[in-house]
Symmetry: C2
Subunit: 449 residues, 2 copies
């Protein structure tokens, strides 16, 4: 990718489908002039942020009756002169409009090319651009808030301030290098070490927020397991009925093996129902059990179900010992209504319910408290693996700086490690970048964004 960055690009910006409206975007220096060539009015004198009614014309043929929005460099999404054409929501008509624009000199935009230009023109940094993609794929309150915060630049500001502190020190160290043999020391080594400790603390805090960020963005991978007939599917159905979500499922979301999504307090619990766990002569069933165990190991939250009416505390104890150590576990004693239940006899943290009755309040309360742990603080959260990786590498380089100072290595090496750390931080916001990185980030965007 990374085509010519100065020509005029065009693309549909709304999904294909018969609908009320379809929007087509055009951007690039000269785009207003270009659209004027196939619009019933001259837009060249049109003011920024104004809307114009008219017709798209292919020669003399009227293609569509449209509204045209005019944006002018630099007050536009891309930072360039731009046009948005809002026409009738017919895929055929949209295609004809795009075709008409390409006839007069626009070219089809590549995926993410509008946002790429916004980045290249300094309208947003790389972390903000990535947040735009996150915003588009947001499917819960938490992922929406996360994307919105990152898009507003809070994270970028944190990274920039880390960088700035290092840059100042790097300048001093490199100044010493310029003096060569003279053995001056502008950069106080103790101060440098203090600074680095402070930066490492901040970086570690950001890195450790990645697990939470990942949950906010993608939800909690939740596995429901237990012996056959413990009531797993009944529980799942009852949970879904209790759901307090706005959206339980959004068309087009990739769900892989995920079977249901439960939305509690804005956090998605991605529920995976598993085959009942038992030894079986049936080979096919054993494969199912094997897969269940694998899923349990990958789970962030494991909901383990037992049937109180057909087991006893010591058997359950043995079963629990066999479970993989996931981050969170909830033990459910089901069918409490079918047995004389003595809470004293069972594990203290077990939640006793009757899934069949549909009253799952204690379980919902527990899930809500787990969701609350992730609740939006105003602190910056890392939710992007690329950023987490760069932070790790930046920290690694800083550790080397400290070691180097302690071991008395020459300035050159210290400066090199500082520069490496700066480089990694710069990758996050795109102050340092290359075509390959840009291609891989923007290539994942939608066409028209």
């Amino acid at each position: 990718m990374i085509q010519n960055r100065s020509d005029i690009i065009v693309a549909p910006a709304t999904p294909t489908g018969v609908s009320a409206l379809a929007v087509i975007r055009v951007s690039g220096a000269g785009s207003i002039e270009l659209v004027s060539k196939c619009f019933s009015k001259d837009l060249n004198e049109a003011e920024a942020y104004t809307i114009h009614y008219g017709h798209i014309l292919d020669g003399k043929q009227r293609i569509d009756e449209v509204l045209v929005s005019v944006f002018r460099n630099p007050q536009s999404y891309t930072g360039e002169d731009s046009i948005e054409i809002s026409g009738h929501g017919s895929p055929y008509v949209s295609q004809r409009i795009v075709e008409t624009l390409t006839k007069v000199g626009a070219r089809m935009a590549e995926a993410g090319e509008f946002t790429l230009r916004a980045f290249l023109n300094g309208k947003l940094d790389l972390a903000q651009a990535e947040a735009v993609a996150d915003m588009i794929s947001a499917n819960s309150e938490a992922s929406l808030k996360l994307a919105m915060d990152q898009m507003r630049g809070g994270f970028s500001k944190d990274i920039a301030s880390l960088r700035q502190e290092l840059v100042d020190f790097a300048a001093l160290i490199e100044l010493e290098n310029d003096f060569g043999e003279e053995d001056v020391e502008f950069a106080n080594r103790d101060h440098l070490k203090e600074l680095i400790d402070k930066l490492l603390l901040k970086i570690e805090k950001l890195r450790s927020s990645f697990a939470a960020g990942n949950v906010l963005k993608h939800g909690i991978n939740t596995v429901i397991a237990g012996k056959p007939n413990a009531g797993k599917s009944t529980l799942l159905n009852a949970l879904l009925k209790e759901e307090r979500a706005i959206v339980s499922d959004i068309a087009g979301t990739t769900r892989d093996t995920i079977e249901e999504v439960l939305n509690i307090k804005g956090i998605q619990f991605r529920l995976i129902d598993t085959a009942g766990l038992r030894q079986s002569g049936d080979q096919i069933e054993q494969i199912g059990v094997g897969k269940a165990k694998e899923k349990m190991e990958q789970a962030e939250l494991l909901i383990y179900l037992c049937d109180l009416s057909s087991t006893n505390p010591s058997i359950l104890e043995a079963e629990l010992d066999q479970l993989p150590k996931t981050k969170e576990q909830i033990i459910i004693g089901n069918k409490v209504d079918q047995t004389d239940f003595d809470p004293e006899a069972w594990p203290e943290n077990m939640i006793a319910v009757s899934a069949k009755s549909g009253n799952l309040s204690p379980l919902i309360d527990k899930l809500e408290s787990i969701a609350a742990n992730y609740e939006s603080s105003n602190e910056t959260v890392v939710n992007n693996i690329r950023h987490a990786d760069a932070l790790a590498k930046s920290a690694e380089a800083l550790h080397k700086v400290t070691q180097g100072i302690d071991q008395g290595v020459t300035n050159d090496f210290v400066a090199l490690d500082i520069r490496q750390s700066l480089h990694q931080l710069g990758l996050i916001t795109g102050e340092v970048t290359n075509d390959e990185v840009l291609g891989s980030i923007f290539g994942r965007f939608c066409i028209g964004k």
Copy 2:
């Protein structure tokens, strides 16, 4: 349907799907004030046709970073104060925006309700409103042009001028009625009959354009038939490769049993491949042959294929005699390369080709000439069955007027028939209407239109 027409309505106007942009429409008196309640800027002083950058807020929570377009009564699609919100193309985010607006007092719009309001506010008449729906489902050059012409009001003007001429006469006749017994004659009966003949001629011309209008809108129902192994599928594939279409197929278009669409000179040939025609002991195959015959009878164009290398002119002659009389027929002699072909021996109108070679120029030429018959003249074309029906009823009433005059019936009856004719014409443009008609027309629109 036909809910309260004065409240503020909201609906997504673009298809659901992860995409660059999503547009949400709001309309109704007070809608600008209402959106201001959940927008980061006050829009109350905003000028019409201007765009405003900001955030949609649900209380203090930022839902999305958006552009808001402001339209003011009467210069808007609906003729009311209106807002279009262009946000990130996340179905979740769009839903949250709609939800936020309903919280502050908007209600979800019904299908077609924006256009219904446009009609009720006199922004367009009923025929034009129907053209909006046609525009959205346009899937060929011809259907696009047809919808565009009708949306611009050419057809409505024709109907209005027919009506006007009758209205003047109706007024004179009713004036006579007012004079009761006095036996005055303001409306010259011979002139009236002349006028009615003229109107009937115009109405008949419009009615007879319906067949062509239907083809322009829906395409030509084309059946390919012939004995087994005549090369029907080879022909179909070769035709599709030759296709000069911009769009061969549009996702979401209902295709029923249609198998392929060939787009020639802007006209859609909706190609239906059929089971080879032969007597067979196989029951299932006989059902297929039965269906093929049924489809042939419904066809507007029948392409009948024979294999020149395995038949002779007299057998073909006999086969052709069996064919149903469709509007257009094309006889193809296939596999011309596998036989010593003597044009003199075969029907004069037969086109000899080798479908396998892929050279189908003579057939394409023929299809182009059929398409050209429908080519856009500047004359008005009726393409809507509701309009064709109203025209037929209007003509029927006019015939009664003439008969009545000839039979010397009283003025009352003549006036009644004239009024009936006017009523039917008025139904087309919506000068006469009722909730049921409106409900059935607008109920078929998209949500958000």
